[in-house]
Structure formats: structure tokens, C-alpha cells
Symmetry: C2
Subunit: 670 residues, 2 copies
């Protein structure tokens, strides 16, 4: 074996990374437990992740070399293997540990929307419909998808154009995509896999339109998987990521389905075509919010946590350039500019993690209330979930890309793991509601609350500050004052209040000057989005501070997390300084102090950086990154992966066809 052949077995941890873990300033395991929600959760997660990681069928070792078709086939294989595996492990789809299974699989799984298909039937079907369809779906005797988005309409559901027209003569619905823009477009599992779909369509009966309703429509033959008559179905083609998912399109030309295929828990069409509502649809609406709550941790926060782990570890192993003349090249994390890129993002991971827990609790509490027919919390929950989804997806996507670029050229190689994290997480900015639309939904709620507060109405808890806003200017007199959470929390409150109030006043002024309502709203919408962001930003700071207060009594850990909270808050002031200065809450001099405090925290937190990302507790198999392994042997990893590359084991066909005729045309000169 040549001298430069590298063996991956039994390597020591790179001393540059090992030294970061010596004399830790707090107990990393305790922090992991806090993130997991308890010691038992950590144990259970590790057991499951380890079982999945060890199973060779689930191995992602060659993932970055695979074609789209191979990725799809692998994901389908994983899905059916998982079914058996979970039985072995004593888990089923309702187990609370299911999240750990998906975490360990790193997303390489198919039939995800088949699960949404089942959930939808369960939520919107009658008992008879559930009894008929769910056992079939659960045993994969049919494969479903959920078809809502169309070529012409996404977030704006009222604009959907697919129709379902009741024919009382035959007791059937006629499902039709009457225009090209009505083509269902995007549903996962539709492209090459599913046999059935829950299709959302505008219901017509006896000439009346009743809005969007769900219908079960057969798509492909169970016999030979060919598309059924009147159906044109296929894969929409390559996307920025999600190579393993067959997002599809379907056109339906006057497809007849039996009346029983309309999911009728909340509304039905009687044999004579009359339309009857039964019960409240709000619970249905509530489950749409649930999707936005659920996606936060796994789809949005997790990519940022992984990206921080990779880039922070790499930054302690990569040595480059010169800091102190004559000294060894420093670790790049010793550069203030590198700290400024990565440490605020580590803080953001913690912030979003605490916020996700807050939102989950809010959602669960609302659910208990809603089951008692109390829908009071629904507007606040909806508005917050919208704003938080938009805020978190934007900040996490951008953050992953900052981490990637912070790894320089190596961050551009798929081996770093970072490009795949980015191209996937950025999708979350437009799916499950486009972010600008969502911010404007929160803004609408805020403006309404602001008006309510002006007329003395009581406000929901998270918005209560609009009734009694912080007044007066910031009292900080030295940079140390900015390490006081009361000081920066007040600044965030003041900023959110000012932006909401000034948008409300602008709308008010425009209306008073005779501008129409819709124009007044539209010409304030840039400021309304800013106000929505400022509100959520304030909330994240507030939640981070309360999370600090409920920590276990470990002073070392508290010190580090307190610094992280300070950093999160002061970084926000540093990058959005204009908002804090504009209405005079901070003076220019105070901003200087805040900046000094902020830059000081970068230096203080530098030594905890690796510990803070180690606490996320991702295995090397989960990270799938040459730069981010626990042992820090990044250059060996890169060489290993290059040697794994199947392209390097093949003869290059280009040589014979294109190169040889030139290269050999006249060699005598060499």
C-alpha cells in the first residue's frame, strides 16, 4: 500500500479538537439532557439512533455519489425496511420515539406524504371512511398522497381551481382540472409511487359553490401501476434538493368517483345534492397549524444545529494564515471575524430550540382547550405559528449558508455535508406557507391587537406589551450594562412596539387622507413585515431569558448559557442597529457600548464553542460530513471520500472518444 493510503480505523482525535474539550467550563451531558428534555430522553434517543446507524441497509455512506433515481430507490427500500425494523424495535407510528427514528435516518425515506394521506383521512373522514381506508393504507395495500398545491396556486388556497361537481343522477363526484393552472403540482410520492390521492377541490353541487373540500381519487392501477383513464400523472422533475422524493403532477379529466369518497366528517353532500355542515372545521384548521409547529425542530432547527457542529469543529482544526507574527498558523476560530460568523448562530440554535419548546407547549395547551370547544387561543396561536415559521426558516436557512461559506472552499464540496443541508432547509422558506405572506398574517393580527389596546381591550399574553409599552430611553451607561437582560429585553420590546405603532399610524394616516384600505395596507407592507420580524425577535429574546431562569442549578452551565443569551440579543442589536436607534431608545454612544459588549462576548464564548455544539450530540453518521466528524480528522476524511468516489474507479470514456486523437496526433515533440 502506498505511503499516502489512509486508513480510517482507530484514529485518535485530532489534538486541535481534543484540546477544545479539555477542562470544559460546564457539563456537556447536562446540556444535552436539557435539549432532549430529560436524561431518559437522551438515553432513548441514543439507543434508537445507534440501532439505525448500525443497520447497513440504512447506510448513507455513498449518498453523495448517487443519482436521483438511486436516491429514490434507496428511500423506498428504506421505507419498507423500516417497517420491519420498527417492529423488531417494538415501535409503531404512534410511539413518542418516532422523531428519533427520523432524526437517525437523515431524511432518506419515502412515502412521507402517504403518512399525511392517512392523517388527513383520520382527521377529516367519518368513522366509516376511517374504517375503510386506514387499514388499507397502513398495510400499503394502497399508497396515498395529499394533492393540494396547483401549478397556479400555492399559499393562497382560495384560488385553487380543481373542481368536484356532484352528479345526483349517478351519486358521483366529477373531479376535474379544467385549466392548465389547475394541474396538481408538487405533491410528494405522486410522481412515481402513489395509487390514491386526497385531492383538495372546489365543491360544486346544484350549481352552488361551497369552497375547498377533500376527495379520495384513485390515480394508478393496483394491478400494473399504470395511470387510470383520464389521469395524466408523472414526476415534476429535478429540484434543488429532495432528490429521493418523487414530487409529482396530476391532471384529472372528468374523473368520476363515488359520493362516499368525499371526506365528510365536517361537511357532506346529501343524495339530492344539498350541502350539510356538521361540527366545526376549526379543528381541521388547527391541524394545519400543527404542521408548522412540527416542522420547526426536525426540518428547520436541525439543519442549523448540524451546520454549526460541522463548521465550529472544522474551525478549530483548520489552521490558516498568520495572526501573531512568527507564531504557528492559528485556528481559524481564533479570528474575530470567524467567531462573528459562527457564535451568534450557535446562540441562535439554542434560541430557536427554546422557542420551539414554547410553541409546542402553547399548541398542546390550545389543543386541550379546543377539545373543550374553547377556540379563544386560536387567533394568537395561528398568528404566532405563522410568524415563528417565517422567522425561524429564514434565520436557519441563512445561518446554514453562513456556516457553509465559513468553511471556505471545502464547504462547497458535498463531502462537507453543508451544501445538502442548505439546499434542503431553504425549501422551508417557501413550503407550508410563503414567508412574506406568513409575516403579513402575523402583522395583521398585531395591528388588530394594537388597535384593540388603544381602545382598552385586553390582549393575549404574548402581545400584552402593546397595552403598556416600555417607555423612556435606555439607561445603559457602560458596556457592562448591556449584559443585563432587562436592558436588552426592554430595547427589543421598544423596537417591536415602535415598528408596530409606526406601521399602524401610517395606515391610519393614509386612511384618513382618503386612501382605500387595501392600498393603505399594501403601501405599508414592507414596514409590516419588519414589525412582524421585530415582534418574533423580541419573543425569542424573552423566551431565552425565561429558559435561563428555569435551568437546573449548575452555575457553570448557567454562566455559559447566560452569555449565549446575551450574545443572541446583542448580535441582533448589532445587525439591526437602525431599528434601535431610529426612535431614540438607544443613542449612538449606547450602540457603541452594545457593540463593545457584543464583541467581548465573542471572545468569552470562543472557548465554549466546541462544547456548545458537542451538546447537540449528532453522530458522525447523522452529520455525514468530512469536516464535522467528532475526531476532527478532516483531511484524512476528505482523502478517504475521494477514494470512495466511484468515478475514480472507472475508465474515463472521454479519453478514447475525444482526447486520444489529439494527444497522440504528434508526440515526437515531447
Amino acid at each position: 500500500m502506498a505511503w499516502w493510503k489512509v486508513s480510517s480505523a482507530g484514529r485518535d482525535v485530532n489534538p486541535d479538537l481534543a484540546s477544545e474539550r479539555e477542562n470544559p467550563s460546564f457539563n456537556v451531558e447536562t446540556l444535552t439532557n436539557i435539549l432532549d428534555g430529560g436524561v431518559e430522553e437522551t438515553r432513548s434517543r441514543r439507543a434508537i439512533v445507534s440501532a439505525i446507524n448500525k443497520d447497513p441497509v440504512f447506510s448513507r455512506e455513498y449518498l453523495y455519489f448517487k443519482t436521483r433515481s438511486e436516491r429514490y430507490e434507496g428511500a423506498v427500500r428504506n421505507t419498507f425496511h423500516l417497517k420491519r425494523k420498527m417492529k423488531e424495535m417494538g415501535l409503531d407510528e404512534n410511539s413518542s420515539e418516532i422523531g428519533y427514528v427520523y432524526r437517525a435516518l437523515g431524511g432518506e425515506i419515502a412515502l412521507n406524504i402517504h403518512n399525511v394521506f392517512m392523517k388527513t383521512i383520520n382527521a377529516l373522514g367519518t368513522d366509516e371512511q376511517i374504517a375503510k381506508w386506514l387499514p388499507l393504507a397502513r398495510n400499503y395495500k394502497i399508497l396515498g398522497t395529499y394533492a393540494q398545491t396547483e401549478l397556479g396556486h400555492g399559499t393562497y388556497l382560495r384560488g385553487l381551481e380543481t373542481t368536484a361537481t356532484f352528479d345526483p343522477n349517478t351519486q358521483e363526484f366529477i373531479i376535474d382540472t379544467p385549466k392548465i393552472t389547475a394541474t396538481k403540482w408538487w405533491p410528494g410520492d405522486l410522481g412515481k409511487t402513489c395509487t390514491h390521492a386526497v385531492v383538495q377541490a372546489q365543491l360544486y353541487s346544484n350549481g352552488m359553490k361551497y369552497g375547498m373540500h377533500p376527495f379520495i381519487v384513485p390515480i394508478r392501477s393496483l394491478e400494473d401501476h399504470s395511470s387510470l383513464p383520464g389521469i395524466t400523472v408523472g414526476d415534476i422533475g429535478p429540484k434543488m434538493s429532495f432528490e429521493h422524493i418523487d414530487n409529482g403532477f396530476v391532471m384529472m379529466r372528468n374523473i368520476r368517483i363515488p359520493k362516499e369518497n368525499m371526506l365528510s366528517r365536517y361537511s357532506q353532500v346529501l343524495p339530492d345534492g344539498s350541502y350539510v355542515k356538521s361540527g366545526s372545521e376549526k379543528i381541521n384548521y388547527f391541524s394545519m397549524i400543527g404542521v408548522r409547529v412540527d416542522m420547526l425542530t426536525r426540518e428547520v432547527l436541525e439543519p442549523l444545529m448540524k451546520a454549526c457542529t460541522i463548521s465550529v469543529r472544522y474551525s478549530t482544526v483548520r489552521r490558516q494564515s498568520e495572526l501573531k507574527p512568527g507564531d504557528r498558523e492559528p485556528k481559524i476560530l481564533d479570528y474575530q471575524t470567524q467567531q462573528q460568523k459562527l457564535l451568534p448562530l450557535v446562540a441562535t440554535c439554542y434560541s430557536i430550540s427554546f422557542m420551539a419548546k414554547y410553541l409546542e407547549k402553547f399548541y398542546k395547551d390550545s389543543y386541550s382547550e379546543i377539545r373543550k370547544e374553547n377556540f379563544n387561543s386560536l387567533p394568537e396561536l395561528h398568528a404566532l405559528a405563522s410568524g415563528i415559521k417565517a422567522f425561524a426558516t429564514e434565520i436557519c436557512s441563512n445561518g446554514v449558508e453562513v456556516c457553509r461559506k465559513a468553511c471556505g472552499g471545502h464547504g462547497y464540496s458535498l463531502y462537507s455535508g453543508l451544501p445538502s443541508l442548505y439546499t434542503k432547509v431553504t425549501a422551508s422558506c417557501t413550503y407550508e406557507g410563503e414567508n412574506t405572506v406568513l409575516h403579513l398574517q402575523l402583522a395583521r393580527f398585531l395591528i388588530k391587537c394594537f388597535a384593540g389596546a388603544q381602545s382598552g381591550r385586553p390582549l393575549p399574553t404574548s402581545i400584552a406589551y402593546l397595552s403598556s409599552p416600555a417607555t423612556g430611553n435606555c439607561q445603559a451607561r457602560a458596556h457592562g450594562d448591556f449584559l443585563n437582560p432587562e436592558v436588552y429585553l426592554k430595547a427589543y420590546e421598544f423596537r417591536a412596539y415602535s415598528l408596530i405603532a409606526s406601521a399602524a399610524h401610517k395606515i391610519q394616516n393614509l386612511l384618513q387622507s382618503g386612501v382605500e384600505q387595501y392600498l393603505a395596507w399594501n403601501s405599508t407592507s414592507v414596514e409590516l413585515v419588519k414589525a412582524s420580524i421585530a415582534h418574533i425577535h423580541f419573543l425569542t429574546v424573552k423566551i431565552f431569558i425565561s429558559a435561563l431562569n428555569s435551568l437546573p442549578d449548575q452555575p457553570d452551565l448557567k454562566t455559559s448559557l447566560k452569555r449565549l443569551c446575551d450574545l443572541y440579543a446583542l448580535h441582533g442589536i448589532f445587525i439591526s442597529a437602525g431599528d434601535f436607534l431610529q426612535h431614540g431608545h438607544l443613542s449612538g454612544k449606547q450602540l457603541d457600548m452594545a457593540t463593545t459588549a457584543y464583541l467581548g462576548l465573542l471572545a468569552d464564548l470562543r472557548k465554549d464553542a466546541v462544547l456548545l455544539v458537542d451538546a447537540f450530540d449528532y453522530t458522525d453518521e447523522e452529520l455525514l460530513s468530512a469536516l464535522g466528524t467528532y475526531d476532527g480528522n478532516v483531511y484524512h476524511n476528505l482523502i478517504d471520500w475521494a477514494q470512495k468516489n466511484p468515478e475514480n474507479k472507472k475508465v474515463n470514456p472521454v479519453f478514447e472518444t475525444y482526447l486520444k486523437p489529439y494527444l497522440q496526433s504528434n508526440q515526437s515533440k515531447l
Copy 2:
């Protein structure tokens, strides 16, 4: 043929896009000529682009469906076809129209670094070396690459570890990669194609180290393309983009090459091992700057121009949601939030375009001086080119991604053209110098100039304001005052000056308090990067204003471009408000005025948006986007492309293997 089969032939322009082009407020063709640099240039570009677009060999129609290997093979095929084609067209590699050829090819071409190989020999080789190697390379009898970056070192060239040791006994150099981190990593064309490389290595002779020098090293056999003894070479594997390029790695174990293979125009080793310098290496250094100047238009600006074209056109065709109650769904470009995403980016395209022209001229002028052995302008040119590269790559990459997200879900499909633009342009943030490092290079120059100004030394033109900074606060009293270029230019000058001065003072204070120089620099580096950005930002505004003043005498066009310049400047104030407020140049009230002026410009420029991107004059073949075609038939395009998808023409193997056993296990229930 089924009713929904869509023919692509002979479609009318979508009326929603056609209406945007009615009654244009200026002559689009004139603007195109300005961007091209003259009427004749436009004509010549169109002729070349059309010839390339029409050639079926160069067709990129199925590009988004291809695997990495297919992309690589296609790019090699294109390269050799292009050689013939250019002969046909009467062009050679030195023709001034060569840029149009590359523009038309959309990057799908191989052997790009083979050109760098030739340029390097031409620049650094002796006349004999040029005479020996260039004809071989020009006729593809050898294929070269340029191997500089290593696994362990990128931007920091002094850290490179590959060695070239002179052996006087045999009159050879011994080329060696003594450590794993010395492995050459990234060079294009190295992975699967090249036979030779210019290798940058640390020169050792008679026990002395002489720094980095270039050597021609044979890599693969001309006979059978196998790697030569002592060479381990291969493809580094998949990247975020550039699927068609075989970036490679090479380890060299004591490879002996003849003494004549050291490129010796500026330095050579004599037979006895003594080292002799001849002439100035500054000219070599100068050509490195040239790469940063050249990349601006084609690699950095062009992706943003294309992304703007696609997203603006799409935004006039996409209708969604409700603005005025009861009205038809509006074009999404009618929403202020959509204007705020796209119009400042259109303005940025023009700004960067004018700046690129400015830098090209500066570069050419310097070149004339340098040929007269006058190197005075080199420090300023180097600093500016560094800062502009960092500024432009960051703003253009981020801008492309904003355009992509502004197209919602459809922006995530490769068919939109936008993901490929992004994944490619973002590489420019880390190649040819990592952006943070480059900003700090400009900052070092600015701090030096600032100190010089304090002691009365004259400063280079672009930095002259540091000698006599704008003083006094902004005089604007109404939002209309912010449409005065003098007002906002002064604000930008004030901001840049303040940030540079305050960083300089901080460093000074730290030094005076006994902090070591390198620590003072490092703990100010976040602020130094901000200062560098502010300087370039100021420069872009200044250059945009001068470009306005040199426009042909067409009042309509001037009005639109003047608005665009205003928008560019006021958008910058809006998003970086803190910098303008902090040192008191603007008051909070004035910021409100600037915001009002800014939002007003969005509305004013809305009607010119399509014209302003039409003027970039990209053909549909160049854009390769279902959302961006000139005719605006986006939904038909998407369906067409889905039908082209080869996956939809294949039988899905997953059905037989995985699905059928489940689906057919018990069908009686359905």
C-alpha cells in the same frame, strides 16, 4: 392527442407580460447598447449568441436531467466542437468577441483551466519555454491545469506545503507533497482530463527556501492516460454545482522533472543551485488581480442579471391572492413586498455593471503604466479589486437567492433556472480569495491611507475623501430631498468615513493601552470588514451617479436610470440604517423621510421593471428557465418540461421490487 397536451410552437406572448411592454417609458434598445458598450457590440453579441444557440451540439435543452458524468462528457464534447465552430466563425481565443461565445454557452464547457495553464506559461515562462509548450497546448497535444490550492491551504498562499527541491547532481527538481495537507485539491480539469499541470511549490535549493514558484509537471500518460509513476490523481467528487467540471486532487511522491520545467521568466535556478531573480514579479501579481477583474461580469453579475430577468418576468405573470377585494387576483409584482425584493436587485445589476466598467478601465490604465515600469497605482488597484470582488460576489449571490425565493415554490424547481444560478454563483464568495480575507486586505489599505491623511500625505483618487471628509449633518427637510444625489452621496461618504475613522481610532486606542498590534487588529476586524463594505458601497453609489452624467441625451431613459440610482442608494440606507444614524449624520426623522422616498421609488419603478430586465437581452436559451421566457408562458413551459423528463418515459423499477407485493397482497377489499 389529449386535450391537455401542450404545443410549444407559435405561442403568443402572455398578455400579462405583453402589457408590461406597451408604451415603454424609454427605448430599451438604447439601454441594451449602453450595457454592451455600443450599437456595434450589441449587433456582434447577438450574431454570436444566435450562432451558438442554433447549433444543436450546444443545446442545453435536457441539461437539468443529466447526471454528473453526462454533464462532464457534454462539456468536453462542446469544447472540441467549439474549436471547430470558432474557426468557422472566424474567431480565435484572442478575439475580443470571445466573451460573447462563453456567455452563449452558459458555462457548459471543459478545459477552462487548460486556458489558465497556457496563460500562466505565457506570463511566467521564458521565450524558449513559451515556444516549446504553448503550441502543444494550443493544439491539445497536451492538456494542462493549474495546481495551486492544497487540502490545507487556499487563500493564504505562503502556507502552501508542496516542495520543489533542486538536485544539482541530476539538474532536476524533485516535486513532493510531503504531507496529506499538501495534496493539491480543487484544480479544474485535473480530476479526469489533464496530462500536465503547472504546480505551485515552495522552491528549495542548496538548503535555502525561496518561496512559491511554478513548475510544469507531467501527470498522466499521453499514451493511455494512466497516472504516471509516483502520481496519485483523481476527481475530488461532487460539489454544490459545476457538475461538468472535473475538479481534482493530486499527490506527488518525489517526482523528478528536468530543470527546464521551472517557469523562469522572473527567477531561475542556475546549474550550481544558486537562485537568480530577473525583472519584477509585480507584473505576475498584476495578472492575479486581472482574474478578479475578469470574473466580475461573467461569473458574478451575469447570474444576478439572469435571476432578475426570470423573477421579474414571472412576477408579472403570476397572479395570486387578493389585493383589492372583488378584483381579479393581482400580479405579484404589484405587491410592495415583491417590489422590495426585486427592484433593488435590478438596480444592483446596473450598479455592479457600471462598477465593473470602472474597474476594467482602472485595470487597463494601470496596465499601461505598469508597462512603463510605473507601479504606483498597484496598491490601490489591488485593494479595490479585493474589496469589489468581495462586495460584488456577496451581493450578487444573496441577490440570486432572493430572486429564487421570490418565485415561491416554482423557484425551487430546477426548471426555473434559479437553483443552478445560485449554487454556481455562491462559489465565487470563496474562490479567487475568501471574501472576509479580501475585505480585510482593503481595510488594511484604508487604515494606512487614513493614517497617511492624518499626516497630510496625498491619497489615491478613490480614497481621497479620507483627507477632507464630508462634515456636518444631513440637510434634508423633506422626503423629496433624498432624491438629490448630492444628499445621499454625502451620507454614504460620511458613513464610510465614520466607520473607517472609528476602526482606526479603536486600533490606535488599543495600541496605546499596550495591546499588541496583531491583537488590536484582530479585535477590530469585525468593524474593519464593515468599513471595507461601506467604502465600496460609497464607491458604487458615486460611480452610478457619474454613469448617469455620461448617458446619451435621452430624457426618458435618464429619468428611469436616475430613479434606479436613487433606489439603489436609498435601499442601502434603508437596510443599513444603523450606520447612517449612529454618528448622527441622519436623524430618526430623516430616516423616515428616506424610507418614504425609497418606498415611493418602488412604486415609480414598478412599471419599468420588465423593460429594465429586457434590456439585459438574454435569450431563452441563455436563461434556460421555464419561468423566465420572453413570452411569459410559464405554466405551459413547466408542463412541457415535465413531459420532457426522461423519468416519465421509463417504467419505475420500484413497482415490481417493492410496491407490488404489498399492493396485490389482498385486493378484494377495494
